[in-house]
């Protein structure tokens, strides 16, 4: 079952070397560091990183981000091959920065997956070990402002706010109900990963709920929720 959850975004700029001499968005980096630090401190059997990838598949848990794919000049230190998909690579890097040395799993999810498929994948992921810590790597809409990578879409704010509220309230059913089609239109590359999270937590609640059998919402601790560069970044921890 899921014993801890951290949610982080996956901008390449979280790979410190990619931003050059400047530290970009230090408050976001700090929030991610805190979230992942709390996750690994839960002492699970395995940390499962889940994030968008070209297809739904498990990746080599020892893989890393190939930063040279984003910054070719940075290949001097040798390339990581095969490089993980961005979200999994960012997650792996955050675990490294947190000093995590324990067992890992790396699970990619096709960002076009239906909500139902995501929830099912989450339920499966929750069972890969008795105690699974989940590092959910995904982003909200990339269409938050006119300067955003995907320009401005007025529906982005409500979509992001909905995701944020679902996490804050521990309302996994609401998270699972995010509209996949709208998410795609809004370039919310983390929608699928968030719904894997919903499925993983809901599986625990239905399968292992105490007497009475009622789901107990687990409020999330939102550490960061903003779109300083036009992409919505959500950082949160769920203590289960």
């Amino acid at each position: 079952m899921i014993t801890g959850v951290a949610i982080v975004p996956s901008p390449p700029l979280l790979a410190r070397v990619l931003t050059g001499r400047s530290v970009v968005l230090p408050e976001l980096r700090e929030a991610c560091s805190v979230a992942v630090g709390r996750l690994v401190a839960t002492g699970a059997d395995v940390v499962a990183v889940v994030g968008a990838g070209p297809q739904t598949a498990a990746w080599d848990p020892e893989g890393r981000l190939d930063v040279a794919a984003w910054g070719p000049l940075l290949a001097a230190g040798g390339r990581s091959k095969p490089g993980l998909p961005l979200a999994l690579g960012i997650g792996a890097g955050l675990l490294d920065e947190a000093g995590y040395r324990g067992p890992r799993a790396a699970q990619a999810v096709d960002p076009g997956s239906s909500s139902a498929d995501c929830v099912a994948l989450g339920a499966w992921l929750a069972g890969i070990a008795p105690r699974v810590a989940l590092l959910v790597v995904g982003d909200g809409s990339a269409r938050c402002t006119p300067a955003a990578p995907g320009y401005f879409d007025e529906r982005a704010e409500a979509f992001n706010a909905s995701a944020r509220a679902s996490v804050r309230d521990g309302d996994m059913a609401a998270l699972a109900a995010l509209d996949a089609g709208l998410g795609a239109e809004l370039m919310a590359t983390g929608r699928a990963a968030w719904q894997v999270l919903a499925g993983a937590v809901l599986a625990g609640e239905t399968g292992f709920a105490g007497e009475g059998g009622l789901s107990r919402p687990t409020p999330g601790d939102v550490l960061y929720a903003d779109a300083p560069l036009g992409v919505f970044y959500l950082v949160a921890v769920l203590d289960l």
Binding site: P11, P12, L13, L18, T19, G20, R21, S22, V24, W70, G71, L73, A76, A142, A148, P149, L229, G230, V231
Partner: protein, 302 residues
Amino acid sequence: MGRDPAGGGAGTREPGPLRLGTREFGPRERIILAIVNRTPDSFYRPGVTWDEGAALARVDEVVAEGADILDVGGVPAKPGQEVTAQEEIRRVVPFIAAVRAAHPDLVISVDTWRADVGRAACEAGANLLNDTWGGWDPALTDVAAEFGAGLVCSHAGGLPPRTRPFRLWYDDVVADVLDTVLGLAGRALRAGVDPARIIIDPAHDFGKNSWHSLEVTRRLSELTATGWPVLLSASHKDFVGETLGAGIEERLAGTLATTAVAAWLGARIFRAHNVAETRQALDMVAAIRGDLLPVRMVRGLA
């Protein structure tokens, strides 16, 4: 002129640090030599730092803009009214002393061909002898050795100081440049100049028509391949103006383009009037080459 009949030229070497004054510059650093002329009649913006107060203020400015070395000259390169050694000393030496007092670690170069001037400048705190006229006065080499100063070994086509090229031709100008500057470097080594303080300079415009200067620029890698640090002195020169049909005030873009090409081909020292612009151009080349981390990268990475 500029040949040493008693010995051969310096050979090639591994690129190493350049040591000038208290500073040490690595082989992948790009060094700016900022021009502050103590003349009333230099070719670019004549007289702008003729006044000592203005000149000292200009020093502070170029240091703030990223200059590593100051190049102080008291005699224009072009022909004109005679400037005696005594007058040259009067123009540059007290100024060098004042700069040294204000900037203890700034590398100071003196642009002169005269040993007497070089000696007085070193006594006042100069660290580098910019012998633009290609070793016309061999005793200048001995001054560099005596004071532990650096020496720029230049190619002026054998012309006497303050003369213009008149129908000069070369079978191969780059070969002639290499022969001359390595010959001067060899002479400097034999005189006891520290090899870590020797610079070579093809000296654009000096003893060259503008085709020759373009050729030297295009084939600058043949100079940098020697391993000796190469100085580019191209700022606002006639070859830029003639190439572009640009007046003296319209040569910054051509100067920076030449600077970028030379930096790409491995030049390490850049003599400049426009320090801030030159530093920016050099940083851009350095980042393209992978020698310098960019300041802040975010585009497409959010």
